[in-house]
């Protein structure tokens, strides 16, 4: 095979691979939107109706409990995780830590980032057993927050790193303290930080392995923080292979709600990032 044939062949292969990946992914999104959308559009109330008493058997009622459970678990988790993540990211900048320290901490963060979510689930469950408590909404929140923390820290760290150095220099030049300077840096990096928080929220709302053993898989409306709850991914996981077609169709509708929420959130984060860029010191002024 001469080198020009080889070049054509591999160029073609590269194109074909990219096309294959895109086609398969479009198929995944398409199937979810179509199969879930068909159930959801005929009866949108299903997402806002509380489940009936024999929900897992006959699919009576709807899955409002999972929608609410997802919100109650993931919103507080995101708040806690983003505060911790932004603080850690600030610490990792050169003002507070030496390069050596931040290298070591970054290594641990990378390990946490790659840790399978199921390990977090097992860890929190171990804590629950040790504390003699029961699986409940609050422990689901803890598990999700631990899962989101390394993801958000990575985004926030990247955003702070890419903030222009002039902001930091100008702030120190005016006699500001490290904390005041850090606040300016966060403002300059705000688009990236916010995008990271929303990304973390999207990952948190979609994860099932962390909450499977910690939130308690209930089929009732969530009560207080110490009652068991369920989330959309758990509901899809448990009902996707049910023998009852009605129960199964709720899993499809729930996956439609979930994918629309996740894709919508990411879209919003992209738009917000563009808007915030105008208000950030040192950002684009358009």
């Amino acid at each position: 095979m001469d080198r020009y044939t080889e070049q054509r062949l591999f160029g073609l292969l590269a194109r074909a691979s990219a096309a294959l990946v895109l086609a398969v992914l479009a198929l995944v999104v398409g199937v979810t939107l179509y199969r879930g959308g068909r159930v959801f559009v005929t009866d949108p109330a299903v997402a806002l109706t509380p489940p009936g008493s024999r929900y897992m058997l006959d699919g009576g009622g709807g899955f409002f409990h999972a929608v609410l459970g997802s919100i109650y678990i993931v919103v507080p988790a995101t708040v806690v995780a983003s505060i911790l993540a932004i603080s850690t990211a600030i610490y990792l900048q050169s003002d507070y830590s030496s390069e050596r320290t931040s290298d070591v901490i970054n290594m641990f963060l990378n390990v946490l980032w790659g840790t399978p979510p199921i390990v977090y689930g097992v860890f929190v469950l171990t804590l629950i057993i040790a504390a003699g408590a029961q699986t409940s909404l609050i422990f689901g929140t803890v598990a999700i927050a631990i899962f989101q923390y390394p993801i958000m820290t990575r985004y926030a760290d990247e955003a702070l790193r890419s903030a222009p150095d002039t902001v930091r220099e100008a702030s120190y030049g005016l006699g500001a303290t490290r904390f005041e300077t850090a606040r300016m840096t966060v403002r300059a990096a705000l688009p990236g930080v916010i995008a990271g928080i929303i990304m973390g929220f999207a990952r948190g709302i979609g994860d099932a392995a962390t909450v499977l053993f910690t939130a308690g898989r209930s089929t009732q409306m969530p009560g207080g923080p110490f009652d068991s709850a369920t989330t959309l991914p758990i509901l899809i996981f448990e009902q996707a292979s049910s023998f009852n077609a009605e129960v199964r169709s709720h899993a499809y509708a729930a996956s439609f709600v979930l994918i629309v929420a996740v894709l919508g959130l990411i879209l919003v984060s992209k738009l917000l990032a563009g808007r915030f860029a105008r208000f950030a010191p040192g950002g684009r002024h358009s």
Partner: protein
Amino acid sequence: MGTTETRSENSSRLDRRLLLERLSSYWLVGAGLFAVALFGLIVLTLVQRSLPVVAEHSLLEMVTSANWDPAADEFGFLPAIVGTIYVTALSMAMGTPIALLAAIYIAEYAEGRTKVLISSFIDLLAAIPSVIFGLVGLIVVVPFVGDYLAPAVGAHSIGLGIVTVSLVMAIIVTPFMISLSVESLEALPDELRESSLGVGATKWETIRTVLLRAAGPGIFSAILLGFGRVFGATIVPAMLIGGQTAIPESPFDAGQTLPTLIVNDFGELMSIPLTQSALILVGLMLLVIVWLFNFGAMLVRRRLQRRWQY
């Protein structure tokens, strides 16, 4: 008198600022150490909780025994280990070449709007929950494997099984590897491309001999991180592998992986302390192996960067 007042006001403002500075620095140092503390706490808890089962059965015995029967005090991880290796090897074998070629296309061939569109679409897909891939797997891949793929190669399959899981995991891990590989290809300086093309290499020769070597460390660590992803995947295997405790004989068989072992047995067997301990040991094994993958990725990256630099 006016000046003294302003001065004292100024100094109290300075005091307040300095106090805030001190307090916030404690908080930030604490937040920085939180990452290390969290990791330490997870490892310590899991080690302490998995000690009971290690005390009764040796680790070697559990890893090589094929008999998983907690009620009879038998904890053999071998079927789950074999299943995990099968799934990881198959999905990486399917995903890696395609991810690499697609990354080359995005980084070196695609231009302008197409490039932006394709790469942002692929980034978007990294955020789609795995439970949705599992659901689509049930709707599309299970009938495909059961009705077409297995009969085509002369095997019998109910649709659920190792091949099904591997196909879906390959779909999940490919965009992840693509984004990381594209990143390291795009970080290369254009002089590399120009000088290689300038001495008469074709575009493909440039990619194969120069660019893949220069971006090699990054691509290699992307593949290792992909390994870690597949290895620790829980939800998709639990939905699609079909649950079977014997060692699978062919890739079309149902089976189990280490994470599905945890999912299937944790709920029911919480009351038997030794089972609980054995399952926590599985969690610890997952953590350690993924940690080794990550560590290996970092080490390889550093080594290759020195050897393959231009």
